[in-house]
Subunit: 400 residues, 2 copies
């Protein structure tokens, strides 16, 4: 049996998405910037996709920039704002722009903030999560300064799946902005949220929002940044005037068409229905694991949690060993996130939340997808029980 429980690392391309993109690997190969008919076919397709993404987010096409993925969109949001604010109109106190973020963001945000900080281009506040992995709007509010230009908080954490109170933070920032001279823009990395949570940018009260194609059934290498019309974004990749002169480079037409279609598919089938179905299966999984395996804890809040995420701390075992054992019986899971699997450092998310290196090293993420079945979950639990038992018997880490 082959069981893929790593949907947060990447997801298969959906059939209807593949069907939509294929003509753009065939006859419709034009460059959207060309004025002849080949170009116009491509241009029309790109703009249709922009409308599809815009509708998915309840925004306007001119507020969508296509990027090479979630990481570039995150970079664009943070550096696009800080570049502007470092000079431009923002000169309140001649201080550096200040950015508020959390200690458990995706590295696309964290590493970008660290770069700005190291190069003296911005001042960063990293909010610590509570023991559930959650950030509160009060924390964000308290961190606000005169020179704050941006807050960026991840919607659904890519490791432990906790849902941050984006809407509450957004509303709070909106209120703050009423009394401020310079606006604070609010960005959320919604890469892991797009399938199961509300993505309406007005409902969420966000100014910028990142999505990624390959987490929702489009291929890798395509993403998008939503930015509210009044956001003074600046480009970070220079060259041609594509994407409203905010992102240079020939458009990835097939990828863009795919992302458009993937968001249309999500929009057509209500997220609540997907969420309910997946949640049921996920809860069955969590309940059985917590009951049938000893010395195991769930990482992150159980309540405020993405319906597809289960992240367990198995005491006295190495996550890496569990993963390899699972792989041998055909089950795909993950320790930390795929993006950080190349590093041997303990998960920064688990460290910030629990400050416990053993917990970081003994944790495994399972993420469900639309095709996950009860049989797959049962097969996984059966194997997990055997594997944990065996690994604990030979474990140098302690009892059991």
């Amino acid at each position: 049996m082959k069981v893929y429980l790593d949907y947060s690392a990447t997801s298969p391309v959906k059939n209807e998405v593949k069907k939509a993109l294929l003509p753009f690997l065939e006859n419709n190969f034009g460059n959207p910037s060309s004025i002849h008919s080949w170009g116009q076919v491509a241009r029309t397709a790109v703009e249709k996709a922009r409308t599809q993404v815009a509708e998915f987010l309840n925004s306007k096409p001119e507020e969508i920039i296509f990027t090479s993925g979630g990481t570039e969109a995150d970079n664009l949001a943070v550096r696009g704002i800080s570049n502007w604010s470092a000079k431009g109109k923002f000169q309140i106190s001649n201080s550096k722009p200040h950015i508020i973020t959390s200690a458990i963001e995706h590295y696309a945000i964290l590493r970008t903030c660290e770069y700005l900080e190291k190069n003296n281009l911005a001042e960063i506040t990293y909010l610590k999560p509570n023991k559930e992995g959650l950030i509160t709007k009060e924390q964000v509010k308290k961190a606000v300064k005169k020179n704050t230009v941006l807050a960026s908080v991840i919607y659904v954490n890519n490791e432990i799946g906790v849902i941050q109170p984006i809407r509450e933070i957004g509303k709070m920032i909106e209120k703050e902005n009423e009394k401020r001279e310079n606006k604070i823009y609010f960005h959320t990395d919604a890469v892991q949220a797009a399938e199961y949570l509300p993505m309406n940018v007005d409902f969420l009260h966000v100014d910028l929002l990142t999505i990624s194609g390959h987490k929702i059934g489009a291929p890798k290498g395509i993403g998008a940044l939503y930015f509210r019309k009044d956001v003074p974004l600046r480009k970070i990749i220079f060259g041609g005037e594509q994407e409203m002169n905010l992102r240079a480079g020939t458009e990835n037409v097939a990828g863009i068409v795919a992302l458009g279609k993937a968001t249309e598919v999500l929009r057509d089938k209500k997220y609540e229905i997907r969420a309910e179905k997946t949640l049921k299966l996920r809860d069955y999984f969590i309940d059985r694991v917590l009951k049938e395996i000893s010395e195991v804890e769930l990482n992150g809040s159980r309540q405020s949690r993405s319906p597809n995420n289960a992240n367990f701390y198995f005491k006295y075992v190495e996550g890496e060993s569990i993963l390899l054992s699972l792989d041998l019986v055909g089950i795909a899971a993950s320790s930390g996130s795929a993006c950080t699997s190349l590093s041997l450092k303990p998960s920064h998310v688990l460290m910030a939340t629990y400050n416990n290196a053993e917990r970081s090293h003994g944790s495994i993420r399972f993420t469900l997808g639309e095709k996950t079945t009860k049989e797959e979950i049962d097969y996984t639990i059966t194997n997990l029980k055997t594997i944990i038992k065996r690994l604990r018997e030979i474990s140098p880490l302690g009892v059991k």
Copy 2:
């Protein structure tokens, strides 16, 4: 009849390339950073493609970084070097890093240099081409300063197709480096050269080189930067540790596989054979146009010119009108490059070469590809003659 003569804007995906990439839009959907079997299939494919690209350039796999396209690769080359040299070891005279480039580079280089210049991050010398559109190694040599860290010269110009003496410049720089304290790195944007010219980085004596997938039969949204092992490159997109920690973001696996295959296809069939075949047809085209249409000139050197490029200045007519008329009879050509077609400004390449706005506005680029036939060229000439005649009759620009 449909005649595509805009191969420099973009090219169709080759059949063997499509065949190679399709499995990565289907069952092989894993994230290369995942350690389970799905991930390993993707990882193996990415590394195979890296080897294919490396072999095409006569380099090593660890010298290839995959990017979202030629533009990002160009940005990475220029900013990756200047970021390093602005601090790092390079502190000879506490001056800014100095970059030498030409006034007729692709905008991916020019706009990046302008950004660095405006933000006081680098000092830039823009070399002016001669009346053939050519830069000489003497010009580059003369521009060298103590604080020069990078020279970037486009291999084949994307508008007028002239071939710059990359090898001569590279050898000159190598000699200069022998007497210098700090090395000058040499980059070339080889996006338009990959199909018809030598791409051996040792032969060319370059330290960095950009290629783009969609110009050589892979899809849009994928490119690569070659960088010689000793080049102190710094990343420009922050996040995960992908691509040897030099380019963050989940790898565009299908695109990477496609680029690998496309370079393999090029390598298998010698460039000299392609070049000879295309050159013959292109020369037939140029000769007939210059002979059968009055008041027309070829833009750029005829001798040092890519075999697939014909760029004509038709006096007394607007390039835009020619393009639209050609499109009506099914022929795709281009005024300037696709990347700049959104702007109404005259071509910076033609302006730098001829300093004649009328010439810039009255010029048309035709670029041939592997599938171009003599029948297509004949059809194009027949129509071009009628179109130019008609447009000149109604032209407000002058006689004929």
